[in-house]
């Protein structure tokens, strides 16, 4: 530490300017900052990469989750894609945002030139960046396991992926912005397990008892699972699933704008 008075931190000589960095630069810097924190956090990496890899290997190697007329690797990839999307967009976002909220990070961010809108924009970009990393890692493993995707199917999966990211990202922010941190941690992990295991991701709704199928079809995970299987595994496409996922995306976004609290008091 230098002696007091040896620098003038507040000095604003004429050649210095007090102004915010350009908007895009602020948002991209925040996205890079968020992504770096996510990638350096072991628990986040576990949820974002390791768990989807385990789902991929499990569904590929174990006799579960199969769909008649569909190659096991294709149904396994669709389930893995859904798992990866929910883990990053929902669980990771909920936990990280919840802890940021409790620690006052969101309050401090709101007073900086980045602001609340820049924070959310940066977070979305960071999440999409992590998705790209997930696609590269999981896609590489799937290719090694014998996955041979159709180009049209991959293209069809892109809008599904984006819509799912909005829907689950909104739900993650809603949980993070309305509940206590302890509840955020518990609920986001429990919901993740339920979405994947019994919510139509790992297993198609046709695997469930008839009485539960209608309920699973109405869940965001059920709709996402159906659309990913349609695009990546060639099963029947359902406009009903598009409507359901769209409603969750719109409803979730509205709920976030209405009820998200930036402080935990």
């Amino acid at each position: 530490m230098t002696a007091p008075g040896t620098v003038r931190p507040a000095g604003r000589p004429a050649e210095h300017v007090t102004a915010p960095a350009p908007t895009l630069r602020r948002v991209l810097r925040h996205a890079a900052f968020e992504a770096r924190i996510m990638l350096s956090n072991g628990e986040q990496l576990m949820v974002a990469i390791i768990l989807p890899v385990l789902v991929l290997l499990g569904l590929r190697l174990l006799p579960v989750g199969g769909i008649a007329g569909v190659a096991p690797i294709d149904s396994a990839v669709a389930a893995t894609a859904g798992t990866a999307l929910i883990s990053t967009s929902f669980t990771s976002q909920a936990i990280q945002t919840g802890f940021d909220r409790r620690g006052g990070v969101l309050r401090w961010i709101a007073t900086t030139p980045l602001g609340r809108d820049g924070y959310l924009a940066g977070k979305i970009i960071a999440t999409l960046g992590l998705h790209v990393l997930q696609v590269l890692v999981l896609g590489g493993i799937a290719l090694a396991l014998g996955w041979r995707p159709a180009v049209l199917g991959l293209l069809a999966a892109v809008p599904v992926w984006l819509l799912g990211t909005v829907a689950f990202g909104a739900l993650g922010l809603l949980v993070a912005g309305t509940l206590r941190t302890e509840a955020v941690l518990a609920l986001s992990n429990i919901l993740f397990m339920l979405f994947v295991a019994v919510g139509g991701i790992a297993l198609p709704p046709t695997s469930y008892p008839r009485i539960l199928r209608g309920l699973v079809d109405l869940l965001p995970s059920g709709a996402l699972g159906e659309l990913l299987r349609a695009s990546l595994a060639g099963t029947a496409f359902s406009w009903g699933s598009v409507v359901v996922l769209l409603l969750w995306a719109v409803g979730g976004s509205f709920a976030v704008s209405r009820w998200f609290r930036w402080t935990s008091v």
């Binding site: 007091p4 507040a10 990070v105 401090w108 030139p113």
Partner: protein
């Protein structure tokens, strides 16, 4: 890319108080945290908001930094409503919030560099880090920092954008004596260069020799304001007692007793019962007295 908005003109800056709060009211449910608070903070001065926990200091700062919307009253920061502040406006205001606000998963220096990157012409982060001793824990994760280290990092983040107005909520809480002294020097140097500093504290060391203006807040209201000397001099205790302060150096104790006797006699001739003691009422005792009588 969007170009940053122009900064306010120097003439505009000179004429407008850095912070002007009038009749601020803020309720949390049925609890009234701010009950008609009015205060002004000027450029080149350190304004200290004093008061016990729950007095309304942080609520006032939160309204001034745009984190809370007042229920009534007006708040103007550098001439603008902070609730509707633009990015350009926020670049002129540095904020150190009370409970850190630091991303726990980041390393100290990475966080400071990130904060600097939000501004077009920030301070030299290495120089700032060296000045506040942050370089000693540059690679440490924020969640592993001590309270004092977090405070220093929060202070650096508040200053890195060369703000015109700085809000510091309990700036020396958790710091050891040497670091606290450095921070107080820094706060004075900020004011000397024309920055308006608004700090909240319950530590008298943060006020004496640092603050140009003191605003004492209790139960959501301003109960005294002015320079520290003015607040002490104008203070009447609840029973009407006034403290007269006199300092004499090199006086023999026996002479002091005689002086006391003569003072009492002079006061009695004016119909005043004067209580003479050694020492004087200091700011801390005034603060305690003011805030306790409101409880």
């Amino acid at each position: 890319m969007t170009a940053p908005s122009p900064v306010p003109s120097s003439a505009y800056r000179a004429e407008t108080p850095a912070l002007e709060i009038t009749g601020l009211v803020k309720n949390y449910g049925t609890v009234r945290a701010a009950d008609g608070i009015s205060l002004t903070a000027r450029r080149g001065e350190v304004t200290a908001l004093l008061g016990p926990n729950g007095a309304g200091k942080t609520t006032t700062i939160s309204c001034a930094t745009g984190l809370l919307r007042p229920d009534a009253g007006t708040v103007r920061v550098l001439g603008e409503d902070p609730w509707r502040a633009s990015a350009a406006h926020r670049a002129h205001v540095g904020v150190m919030i009370q409970d850190g606000g630091l991303a726990s998963g980041a390393r100290a220096m990475d966080l400071l560099r990130y904060g600097a990157s939000l501004h077009v012409d920030p301070l030299d982060v290495d120089e700032l880090a060296a000045h506040l001793g942050i370089d000693a824990f540059a690679r440490t994760l924020v969640r592993r920092l001590s309270g004092g280290q977090r405070q220093r990092l929060g202070l650096a983040l508040a200053l890195v954008g060369r703000p015109e107005l700085v809000f510091l909520d309990e700036p020396t809480a958790g710091m050891d004596a040497a670091i606290s002294r450095t921070v107080r020097h820094l706060i004075r140097s900020l004011a000397r260069t024309g920055t308006a500093v608004v700090l909240t504290t319950h530590l008298m060391d943060d006020v004496e020799g640092v603050a140009d203006q003191v605003v004492v807040i209790a139960r959501g209201s301003v109960v005294a304001s002015g320079s520290p000397e003015e607040v002490i001099a104008s203070h009447h205790e609840a029973d009407g007692t006034v403290h007269l302060s006199a300092t004499a150096a090199g006086v023999d104790p026996a002479v002091a007793v005689t002086l006391g006797t003569e003072l009492r006699a002079a006061a009695r001739r004016r119909g005043v019962d004067l209580h003479v003691t050694t020492g004087a009422a200091d700011l801390e005792s005034v603060l305690l007295d003011l805030t306790q009588e409101r409880r």
